[in-house]
């Protein structure tokens, strides 16, 4: 971890002055868990440490995936993602499923057809081979199910004290069809905000076994590959402006990123948000906000209002979009901010999560 601090000291041009408030890199000389939470701290680490350090070699904003034009106009989507989930097995899936579906979905959110994945394992000394076998089989099945080929890989082992179980990195390549232009900067005032189904399910499923909590019924992760659903949405001919899979940081983080990238306001209607009772109750018990809980098999779509009905119909016709619904719209007001109208008729700002969600004391 010390390298991070050293890096900031050695690389010229790091500008801390633009930070709205003092940040962990300034105040805390090492990485804390919040830097990996997918919220503001993660974004600031990229913006103020990685990008300046990479200099002119950085080709983009280092988002979830990049669309690259090669040769005579072929557009490749390229994405990489690392998986460190604990526990490695949870109701509805395992780290093996996530390692495929997570990267497949990052590619799908640019409208790409995923084709090839790499798989890199970092294994802690002492990891049970039987557990590793189960994870590898789950990974293989998920790849078959998603129709992607596993074409290259790597394995490393770290000392028991340096790691805990199994970490997986997958990188993926897909092809973006001609005419498709899906990007976080394309949301426009008037656009409809759609979600493909119940939110917060994956996060609650993992929490329920990580923390030994019982919520009355078993909550199963919604991990699933979404490129088929995206293909059906594209087949309507609608101009999909933005797609995001709201993983770490949940719906809140994704919508905040879109609002800022497109410089639009987003207005949600809370009573329209598909929060299943188990998620709502778990969040209520723990003092968490379902909008900030991770999903693994859901997408958010920002589409022109005139296209919303046909896109919704296509989503609902797909097994992974049966509960799709419209939850809000983009507006010209409060640019860069997400605001929810509450069930009672008031309003509240939906902020970008900072780091990790913390259960409240009471």
């Amino acid at each position: 971890m010390a390298e991070v601090t050293d890096l900031t000291a050695e690389v010229p041009g790091l500008d801390f002055e633009g930070w709205v408030c003092p940040v962990p890199l300034r105040d805390i000389p090492s990485i804390v868990m919040g830097h990996g939470g997918g919220g503001a701290m993660s974004g600031e680490l990229i913006e103020h440490l990685f990008l300046p350090a990479y200099g002119s070699a950085a080709a983009s904003d280092l988002g979830d995936s990049a669309v690259l034009t090669v040769g005579s106009g072929i557009r490749l989507a390229f994405s990489t993602d690392s998986f460190v989930v604990k526990p490695m097995f949870f109701p509805g899936g395992s780290i093996g499923d996530l390692a495929v579906n997570g990267t497949v979905n990052d590619l799908a959110m640019s409208g790409a057809t995923p084709l090839f994945l790499s798989t890199a394992f970092i294994l802690a000394e002492g990891t049970e081979l039987s557990a590793l076998g189960r994870i590898a089989r789950a990974l293989g099945r998920a790849a078959e199910s998603a129709g992607v080929r596993l074409v290259t890989g790597d394995t490393k082992v770290v000392e028991r004290a340096s790691g805990d179980g199994v970490y997986i990195n997958t990188s993926g390549i897909g092809v973006v069809p001609a005419g498709v232009d899906i990007h976080a900067r394309r949301a426009r005032p008037g656009d409809a905000v759609l979600v493909s189904g119940d939110i917060g399910v994956h996060g609650v499923a993992v929490m329920s076994c990580r923390e030994g909590l019982e919520f009355g019924t078993t909550v199963e992760s919604d991990t699933a590959p979404l490129h088929g659903l995206v293909a059906d949405m594209l087949a309507t001919g609608a101009d999909l402006h933005v797609l995001r899979d709201p993983t770490r940081g949940g719906v809140s983080a994704s919508l905040n990123e879109i609002a800022r990238a497109s410089d639009v306001g987003i207005e949600l209607v809370e009573r329209l948000l598909p929060v299943p009772p188990t998620v709502r109750d778990a969040c209520s018990l723990l003092g968490l906000d379902p909008l900030q809980v991770a999903n693994e098999g859901k997408l958010i779509a920002i589409v022109p209002a005139g296209d919303a009905d046909q896109v919704l119909a296509a989503m609902r016709a797909h097994p992974l979009g049966r509960s799709a619904c419209r939850v809000g719209r983009c507006v010209p007001d409060h640019a860069g901010m997400v605001v929810a109208r509450t069930g009672l008729g008031g309003s509240r700002v939906i902020g970008l999560p900072i780091g990790e969600q913390l259960p409240r004391i009471c």
């Binding site: 868990m33 309003s347 259960p359």
Partner: protein, 367 residues
């Protein structure tokens, strides 16, 4: 849980709001004591829907917010020690001490763990007999019974490697301290339903009589809060100052008798310092002599750690209802949830954090 849906019903809420509007003929300022109620009010936009004449003042009822800096620094010192497993509720991890928080202690190698019950910490102590396990026992009368039960069990089972860092505070002395303040604007209180579910309502009639304020025991769902406000307005308009229970599904006048017996056995009343407010006599609990061996402050000899609050932070005035969070010059500038100067900005129940997170829109509009 479906039962709770009825307590968020928008049609019923509208009826209650209409009654509140009809009953309100002049300006009133009432304080919701509990941070959970503050969170619910902001989360549901309830204060925007109340008449202009009804001002909600957010009280000192967030246990995270009122835990003194000194105790946080003692917690950090203990958590940084080798061989210690330091257990806490989640939202205490981000509370800033004078130079760091529990997250940064963990980042530096300290074994800091989030638990959901003090009994989880006791279980850890039994599973790790060669480690010292400390639980950060903060909170009001609501969280105290579980902490008392854990110490009682540790004693009964002979678990000597468990201890409690205690920072428990009590609501009634805080109400008295607020009312004694020369700058007090509070004319009525919504009392914290969960506190009363443990302690009952017996402590409140003397306060209502002495300070001539209505005190309405109130729950946490939107309709609970609206009903609490409605009853309070009716009393204020009629010039009455009585204790009412608007949360009968959870609160009995006599409270939870076995829990209170456990509290009397394990804890004893002591003076406590409240972050942002200062010392309030006989406003907290510490472990009683019988259980003093489980006191982490003494076991780890951290009693000599003394620290001062940030001079910029006006959380004390916020906690006493003297200013709204955004009236503080540091609000949203030097002080944000990312870099909280005071604990009211740390916990999502804290008044400053609730305003920053859910109210930025109207603050932006006002500029």
């Amino acid at each position: 849980m479906k039962y709770l849906d009825e307590f968020s019903d928008p049609d019923l809420a509208k009826k209650l709001l209409d009654q509140i509007h009809a009953a309100t003929t002049r300006k009133w300022a009432m304080m919701e004591v509990c941070g959970g109620q503050t969170h619910s009010i902001i989360r549901h936009g309830i204060d925007q829907l109340l008449p202009d004449g009804v001002e909600m003042i957010h009280g000192p009822g967030c246990p995270v917010c009122v835990t003194p800096l000194e105790i946080i620094d003692r917690a950090l010192a203990i958590a940084a020690r080798p061989g210690v497993i330091f257990c806490s509720f989640g939202d205490m991890l981000r509370v800033p001490g004078s130079s760091q928080d529990l997250f940064s202690v963990r980042s530096a190698g300290g074994d800091v763990r989030v638990v959901y019950s003090p009994l989880d910490a006791l279980k850890l102590a039994r599973e790790n007999p060669d480690r010292e396990v400390v639980f950060f026992g903060i909170g009001f009368e609501t969280t105290a019974p579980a902490n008392a039960m854990t110490v009682y069990q540790a004693e009964r089972l002979g678990v000597r490697n468990f201890s409690l860092l205690v920072s428990h505070v009590l609501v009634p002395p805080a109400i008295a301290a607020i009312m004694e303040s020369s700058t007090c604007r509070v004319q009525a209180f919504l009392a914290a339903g969960h506190v009363c579910s443990v302690m009952g309502t017996a402590e409140y009639p003397p306060l209502a009589q002495k300070y001539k304020v209505p005190i309405v025991v109130t729950g946490f769902e939107p309709l609970d809060i609206l009903e609490g406000v409605r009853r309070t307005v009716v009393q204020l308009e009629a010039g009455r100052h009585e204790v009412e229970n608007a949360y009968p599904r959870a609160v009995r006048d006599e409270g939870n008798v076995p829990a209170m017996e456990m509290l009397r056995d394990v804890f004893e009343v002591t003076d406590r310092t409240w972050r942002g407010i200062g010392a309030i006599p006989r406003s907290g609990w510490r472990l009683s002599g019988k259980y003093r061996a489980f006191d982490a402050e003494q076991r780890f000899d951290v009693m000599d750690i003394h620290t001062a609050e940030s001079s910029l932070c006006r959380s004390g005035e916020v906690l006493q209802g003297l200013i709204k969070p955004h009236a503080c010059d540091a609000f949203g500038k030097e002080c944000t949830p990312r870099n909280p100067l005071g604990a009211t900005m740390v916990s999502s129940e804290g008044a400053c954090a609730a305003y920053y997170t859910h109210r930025r829109l109207e603050l932006v509009d006002a500029k």
